[in-house]
């Protein structure tokens, strides 16, 4: 099993935000593992030795205050409720639901008895973070081990209590029942009055997918009623006794240094406090309006270096980075020169992708509260322990003085790995001597968060007239190496990632660079297929023997009706496939070229995505409903990056930091979406929050070519519509 830390450092160096230096340098100067759980029985799962050792290494987010060799635990309390503890967080991927299912499945109890405690650093085991589609492949098995062992140990205890043989007892609907049902006990009756801690052997067997009863079924979001009534409290909704509202004064540009500030007008407003500490200026006030008014009353002078704009971006990215972390690639196979010499057709192209924003609907937010030297921060982050580390570092205190609590959060998409808002709120609260809530505005979220990396990709290849690809040379500049490897059987390959110095702050985004690399690869594969006049589906099947990839290619093509009919006038069909993070995907798209609906773009046509069929295989399916929901959502989100999303910047400023200037997919963009799940009960479950996003952009680009003969090689493809007079 790949450890998460190893995954980040070796495989996914483009998680740039995890390697950043602290943003602020403030001038400032263990608890026991088993907290008071109360009575009941606790089952602990140790993690493997290899993982434990790596967790001990330094690096941001490394936690030393909890035992680092524990992966999960489950507490059966005196009411018979099952409380499962995990460092993962819920940000809309509905892992609260699927992990709950796994525990209920293994323990043979109804789903309603299982309560998942997530993302509270004082209560849950250390976890590196909720990203990389790791919750299902790594956390679900750990919780299952705890639950499986709990089941067996509880049966042993109950058997003793009932004076029957353990093999005469089963757990049915949270009750221990013997063969003729003459003797029964509830979970509560077994847990009552006990204070037991059981450590579970790492090699305990867990239930295999073919024997799942609760897992593998469609369960709706476990606490959905709290969300449809508005009762769930996100970070932005929290209120603490005496809480003040904060506002940070932002520089006009990136990389600015504070030269001077005049704060007297703000300080003159009653109940306002101004905090200046190095380059940090913020205010607190009893209400948000006053805080905003006070921040606006502060005059600041910043010194900024000249900074590049969009127009220079792709030239800049081709320059090697000063810090080459994560560069290189796999060892080249064969010889590109020989492969090209053997080809009938040789092609070479460049593709680009823009910076895009996560734009989570809940912006960054934090509520910070100091009690003496102990800091508690509620914040929406995908890395509660990482943010705890950031806070400890910022305030020069030890991590056991910091508690980070993550309420189920208004989405992340890889954009909430850092704790900048938490640090700012804590700084304000420290100065105020009262709890402070800080909610970033949409404009702050668009400007001061990090972006999906932009990138340039050069591809060179050769193909024989019979469709055999003979060479594959692929260079990705800056966007990252995720999804860069191929499942095509090509004898001569040279595949590399080249880090660059990004002009904008950049970091993880759902699927990382897999979207960029699939866009370039699958567009180029389409170009090769057309160069030798072979159907794009047939061409792909001809060049891969990988059975899992072939299965999703055929499944999506069947659903879509590929090859069964020709597109209507001004319509086009496109296909793209791939694999990443243990999952396989094929996306088929139909697009229509329509008259522009927007006045500004009346010279250009609108590209409308009419229909998408996507086949996805991620091993054994834990919850078909939630998986379909993730796939549909990923396809919908992908439409933005494929068609129109792009961050515009100039001289250290973001030019489109709001929804009225940064278009995101809406109801009117929605195509007909058909999802095919390829359920492989014989394979371990892989995560599925990310990879369903990678197929749409190339499938759409290929369908635009199919409709118009125009080959678009930059994401977004049609930010201002399609100029049908342009030559490709």
């Amino acid at each position: 099993m790949i450890d998460d830390r190893e995954l980040i450092e070796a495989i996914e160096p483009e998680r740039y935000e995890l390697f950043e230096a602290p943003q602020y340098n403030f001038a400032f100067d263990r608890r026991d593992f088993i907290k008071a759980f109360g009575l009941g029985i606790v089952f602990i799962v140790p993690v493997t030795r290899a993982i434990a050792q790596q967790r001990g290494e330094s690096g941001r987010g490394g936690s030393q205050s909890l035992p680092n060799d524990i992966g999960a635990w489950i507490h059966i309390d005196e009411n018979g409720d099952v409380n499962a503890f995990t460092g993962k967080v819920e940000v809309g991927q509905n892992t609260r639901t699927t992990l709950t299912q796994s525990v209920a499945d293994e323990l043979h109890v109804p789903i309603g008895l299982v309560h998942l405690v997530m993302g509270d650093t004082d209560l849950v085991p250390f976890d590196v973070g909720t990203f990389g589609s790791r919750s299902t492949p790594t956390m679900a098995p750990q919780l299952r081990k705890a639950a499986a062992a709990a089941r067996e140990m509880l049966i042993a205890i109950a058997a003793e209590q009932l004076q029957v043989a353990p093999n005469d007892l089963r757990i049915v609907d949270a009750r221990f029942v013997n063969h003729d049902k003459s003797k029964t006990l509830t979970l509560a009756e077994v847990a009552k009055g006990r204070k037991l801690v059981k450590v579970i052997p790492d090699d305990i067997a867990i239930t295999q997918p073919k024997d799942w009863t609760v897992a593998g079924t469609s369960v709706t979001k476990v606490d959905a009623s709290k969300f449809v009534t508005g009762k769930h409290e996100y970070t932005t909704d929290l209120k603490r006794q005496g809480m003040l509202y904060g506002k940070v004064v932002r520089p006009a540009t990136f990389n600015a240094k504070l030269v001077s500030s005049v704060t007297k007008d703000a300080e003159a407003i009653p109940s306002v406090k101004v905090i200046v500490d190095g380059d940090f200026i913020g205010v607190v006030a009893p209400d948000q309006q006053t805080a905003t008014k006070a921040a606006n009353a502060i005059a600041t002078d910043w010194k900024s270096p000249g900074q590049p704009s969009n127009s220079q971006l792709f030239d800049l990215l081709r320059k090697p980075a000063a810090n080459t972390r994560g560069g290189g690639g796999t060892r080249p196979q064969g010889s590109i020169a020989e492969g090209l010499a053997a080809a009938d057709k040789k092609l070479e192209q460049t593709y680009t992708v823009a910076y895009i924003a996560h734009a989570p609907l809940e912006p960054r937010a934090a509520v910070a509260e100091w009690n003496g030297d102990k800091l508690t921060v509620w914040t929406g982050t995908q890395r509660p322990f990482g943010v705890r580390g950031e806070l400890a570092e910022a305030f020069h205190i030890s991590e056991d003085k910091v508690r980070v609590i993550v309420p189920d959060t208004g989405s992340g998409y890889g954009g909430k790995h850092t704790g900048e808002c938490a640090v700012e709120a804590a700084r304000l609260a420290k100065a105020a001597g009262k709890p402070v809530k800080l909610v970033w505005t949409r404009e702050e979220e668009f400007t001061w968060a990090y972006f999906r990396p932009a990138g340039v990709i050069d591809v060179r290849s050769g193909v024989k007239n019979d469709g055999t690809i003979t060479a594959w040379e692929f260079h990705n500049y800056n966007s990252g190496p995720a999804g860069i490897q191929i499942k095509y059987d090509i004898p001569n390959t040279d595949i590399r990632f080249h880090p660059s110095d990004s002009p904008l702050r950049q970091g993880s985004y759902r699927g990382l660079a897999a979207t960029a690399n699939h866009f370039a690869r699958e567009s180029f594969i389409d170009e090769l297929a057309h160069a030798v006049n072979i159907d794009p589906l047939e061409f792909r099947l001809k060049n891969t023997k990988d059975e899992r990839l072939r299965a999703v290619l055929n499944a999506a093509a069947n659903k879509f009706g590929w090859g069964k009919s020709k597109p209507a006038a001004n319509h086009g069909f496109g296909i793209a496939c791939g694999f990443e993070k243990g999952s396989y995907i094929t996306t088929c798209a139909e697009i229509a070229i329509e008259p522009a609906t927007n006045k500004e773009d009346d010279t250009n046509k609108r590209v409308r995505i009419v229909r998408v069929a996507e086949a996805f295989e991620c091993g054994a399916v834990v919850n078909p409903l939630q998986l379909k929901n993730q796939i549909e959502g990923a396809i919908t989100m992908a439409m933005g990056g494929a068609l129109f999303e792009s961050i515009q910047f100039d001289n250290g400023k973001i030019l489109n930091p709001k929804f009225s200037a940064y278009r995101v997919p809406r109801f009117s963009d929605l195509p007909q979406i058909e999802v095919v799940l390829v359920d492989r009960k014989d394979l371990a479950s892989a995560g599925a929050g990310e990879t369903p996003i990678v197929g749409l952009a190339p499938a759409v680009a290929n369908s635009i070519f199919n409709a118009t003969g125009q080959r678009l090689r930059s994401l977004p493809l049609v930010p201002r519509g399609l100029n049908t007079n342009a030559k490709s």
Binding site: T229, G230, K231, K239, S411, E632, G633, T636, P665, L670
Partner: protein, 159 residues
Amino acid sequence: MAKVTSLNVNGKKLTVDVDSTVSLLSVLRNDLVLTGSKYGCGEGQCGACTVLLDGVALRSCITQVGRATGKQITTIEGLEKDGKLTPLQEAFIKADAMQCAYCTSGMIVSASALLSKTPKPSREQVIEGMNGNVCRCGTYQRIIEAIQVASGQAKEVAG
């Protein structure tokens, strides 16, 4: 500056003491602690803050509270009747029409306004009526299904 001292929210007359120019969203969330309505953009572009004013959906983030005086304000917290979810709320759960669910309050309030005006909307009418609401997780297809189930036009949603 003119003050607002009382508001009719979810059938109750509530006392406040705020400037009339403050946003309705801020008063609901911070003064009345009705946090179901969300801040998403502050420019009326995402719909997360949607509430009903005399039954009409509006963006509370760009509405001054002074405009709401004397009118019936309905928020997501006011939709349940006698502790029972509305058919629309039930349909959102059954269709799994949410992921992070931060947009859900605004979606349900917007949809209830749509259904009171157009009890059996076509797919196109749903799209038109809901186009001002953003779901970044991309659950639009399920939200359309939920609205159509709630309006009695579709049976239970398959998977």
